[in-house]
Symmetry: C2
Subunit: 102 residues, 2 copies
């Protein structure tokens, strides 16, 4: 039980950083190189690399090397179900909150 909670919390922690969310979102339509990601996500190359290595460690992304380039992609597309569901719930709660303020 305690183990499972640690495990869940740790999983969510991986998703709790805006740059990591941006990286995952950017990979929705397929693989991208590190520099492309840095451009799309608008963050430093070094920081992107650091976050990619966290996502890699948590098995959320995979990569393939091609010459000088490293292309990253999503390990399991189901992660987008989670992201979309989270957004839906969060939005719903926000709406409820707004309504209650009227």
């Amino acid at each position: 039980m305690k183990q499972i909670r640690l495990f869940k919390a740790d999983f969510f922690k991986t998703l709790s950083n805006p740059i990591r969310i941006a990286i995952i979102d950017s990979l929705r339509n397929g693989e991208l190189g590190v520099n492309d990601l840095a451009a799309v996500v608008e963050a430093d190359q070094a920081y992107i690399s650091q976050q990619l290595s966290i996502l890699k460690a948590k098995n959320l992304v995979k990569f393939r090397k091609e010459g000088n380039f490293v292309y990253y992609s999503i390990t399991d597309q189901d992660i987008f179900i989670l992201l979309d569901e989270a957004l839906r719930i969060a939005k719903k709660q926000l709406t409820t909150l707004q309504d209650s303020l009227k």
Copy 2:
């Protein structure tokens, strides 16, 4: 776009703490008082209160007061869809990882 990412990341951050996960999970079957939660979750009362106030601020739990007691409950049951889906995905990835080690 950036706003939405910050929003999502922030939402996941709320779920990235094992005590907060434990609190939410403990409220699956209905409301509980703070002391009950402290007992179930096996954490200090003060720490439970702190985490409850974070969950309250993020609108994930609501409460009602009855005399000396404060009973907390889940704002939107859909949060369990998210928790269960997260666990499913994480488990799946773990299984894939284990298989690939054979």
